[in-house]
């Protein structure tokens, strides 16, 4: 179906969001346009404000409105253990399991030649800087247990081990192919405890 320029642009932008198809995008667009103007304005300013304030932590790469982020500056956390995850949602997933007292590093992706993602596109340089300090004892690689997550874990292990840091891999406790994001606290807890050196 064809709509006037502004409407179809709105639908187009909404449809680019993950999990939103063209039908849902239409529904959302018409909802925003039929409600009073404030509804749309509130949403627009919330998006703008969040986008302006939230940025990547210069230490760990997680999304934050404070740089360095609260986790990186938390005195009660063990800076000697870094949990390496593929994106910010995974930090939230591990945080829900309260047993982890170390800090994080967010890669913002995994190796995937199919998607055109090589090591240079991942947040690896900052990780190496953190490790150079010599204070880090262990890096727990918590990328998803799929082909790409495994290759990334292997790549990082080859890179990090020569620096004298222990590299372990979780996810042996996770069901095969399950993504970290969907793991519950119990399975994640077991996966953390059952981590193995790679």
């Amino acid at each position: 179906m064809q709509y006037a320029g502004a409407v179809s642009r709105l639908i187009g932008e909404l449809a680019r969001l993950p999990g939103i198809g063209s039908k849902t995008a239409q529904r959302l667009a018409f909802f925003l346009l039929s409600e009073p103007p404030e509804t749309a304005e509130k949403l627009a300013s919330a998006i703008r404000e969040a986008r302006e304030r939230v940025r990547r932590c210069s230490v760990c790469g997680n999304l934050t409105d404070l740089d360095p982020c609260r986790i990186c500056t938390d005195e009660g956390r063990d800076k000697g253990i870094i949990c390496l995850v593929q994106d910010p949602r995974d930090v939230a997933a591990v945080e829900k399991y309260r047993g982890f007292k170390g800090v994080y590093h967010v890669l913002h992706g995994v190796l995937s030649p199919l998607a055109g993602i090589g090591p240079e596109k991942l947040n690896i340089k900052n990780l190496l800087t953190r490790l150079e300090g010599g204070k880090v004892r262990e890096v727990i690689v918590a990328t998803n247990p799929d082909v790409e997550g495994d290759a990334t874990a292997l790549y990082l292990a080859r890179l990090i081990k020569p620096l004298g840091v222990t590299v372990t891999r979780i996810a042996h406790g996770l069901p095969v192919g399950a993504h970290l994001e969907y793991a519950d606290e119990i399975t994640l807890g077991k996966a953390m405890e059952g981590r193995r050196e790679i």
Binding site: S112, G116, G118, E120, V147, A151
Partner: protein, 378 residues
């Protein structure tokens, strides 16, 4: 394993049918283009979760929103209820015993065997047909193998992508090489193990079908030089050597040139390649032996008698082979056999006859055999 009930709504040319087949041999007969193959397709989808024809969404009856397939299987002592919904845009939902589930958990993976005229391509077609037959038809019995194939193919896609685009970093390429060798070796190791169980069955069955003068042999052709297949580590070492010697060629041709995705199988009859020297009848016999051996392998590994779906293959076999096949099936296996005629060699083994006409299904008892058109007199 048995299919006890099948209900179809808006599936191909079926508006709505409810079908409770016999646990023995079911003949599906009727004129051409009335829905015989469609019915086998429905059984196949209900057990496997995908069609043996091109696109799943094509199954939705023209003009309808969605197809519904409800089926009830009996395995050992318990029942498995499957509910599948296919939308006209291709969306598919699978419920097993009332809860949403993945197609890999459907009962058909170790219990449904399809046999149709196109299977001659296993012998006559390109190597990919033989690999797919081994990996998906024979290998489907083993969930670990199925998963492994899927992972391996993805690794090859990644590696080929690197080679195609070039300009990658050496340390990155090294990782994909390592994954390729590791997974490739495991696929090869498990595939050869699978074939070591399967080939002897095929050979023995062929001897029964064709007599002692014809000796069938099957050889696995590896695209890499392999010194043996006794351990995964040994194969990895062979792959590393092969990889080094073919690196330049791979970079030049921009693709992965060896590994289990490039291997093949040859069928030799008295030491001559059937592809070049076999008669049509010999090729058919080999395919029959492949399917019969698959039946036997599935039974040994899962303890279930698989359900046999035979689409239009009966009339292509001569009387001896019809006899062999029907004797093999009858007594233990549930079978669905489509045919335009019921040859007299098999009519006494038939448990039930269904007559299909323009998307309707009608049961014709055994006693009314004589009333079925096209039926040969006993």
């Amino acid at each position: 394993m048995f299919l006890n009930e099948l209900l179809l709504k808006d599936f191909r040319n079926y508006l709505e049918i409810n079908f409770s087949p016999d646990q023995g041999i079911n003949i599906i007969t009727g004129p051409n283009a009335q829905g015989k193959t469609n019915l086998l397709e429905a059984i196949f989808i209900s057990g496997m979760g995908f069609s043996f024809r091109l696109k799943d969404k094509d199954v939705v009856r023209w003009g309808s929103e969605q197809s519904i397939l409800k089926s009830s299987y009996q395995l050992d002592g318990f029942t498995v209820d499957v509910h599948i919904q296919v939308k006209f845009d291709g969306f598919k939902k699978i419920l097993i015993n009332g809860t949403e589930n993945d197609r890999k958990n459907l009962p058909g993976h170790y219990g449904i065997i399809l046999f149709r005229p196109e299977d001659l391509h296993i012998i006559k077609g390109p190597p990919s047909q033989r690999r797919d037959f081994i990996d998906y038809d024979i290998g489907s019995i083993n969930p670990v193998y199925r998963k492994l194939i899927q992972q391996y193919k993805r690794i090859i896609l990644h590696r080929n992508n690197l080679l195609r685009r070039g300009g990658y970093r050496q340390d990155e390429f090294k990782i994909w090489n390592e994954e390729f060798y590791r997974y490739g070796a495991e696929v090869l190791y498990r595939r050869i193990k699978l074939l070591k169980n399967y080939f002897p069955l095929v050979r023995d069955i062929y001897a029964v079908i064709a007599g002692k003068n014809e000796i069938l042999d099957m050889k696995y052709l590896s695209s890499a030089k392999i010194s043996g297949s006794t351990s995964i580590d040994q194969i990895i070492n062979d792959f590393i050597i092969e990889g080094k010697s073919r690196e330049k060629e791979e970079i030049y041709k921009k693709q992965t040139l060896f590994g289990p995705h490039r291997d093949d199988i040859t069928f030799l009859l008295n030491n001559k390649d059937i592809r070049n020297f076999g008669s049509q009848g010999q090729v058919r016999s080999v395919v029959l032996a492949l399917k019969a051996a698959q039946m036997e392998l599935f039974k040994r590994q899962s303890g279930q008698n698989p359900i046999m779906l035979l689409d239009d293959v009966l009339m292509e076999l001569d009387e001896n082979r019809q006899n062999y096949l029907i004797k093999l099936i009858s007594g233990n296996n549930q079978a669905f056999i489509t045919t335009t005629e019921i040859p007299k060699t098999i009519s006494r083994h038939v448990d039930r006859i269904y007559f299909i006409n323009r998307g309707t299904i009608e049961e014709r008892g055994h006693t009314s055999l004589r009333n079925v058109p096209n039926l040969r007199e006993e």
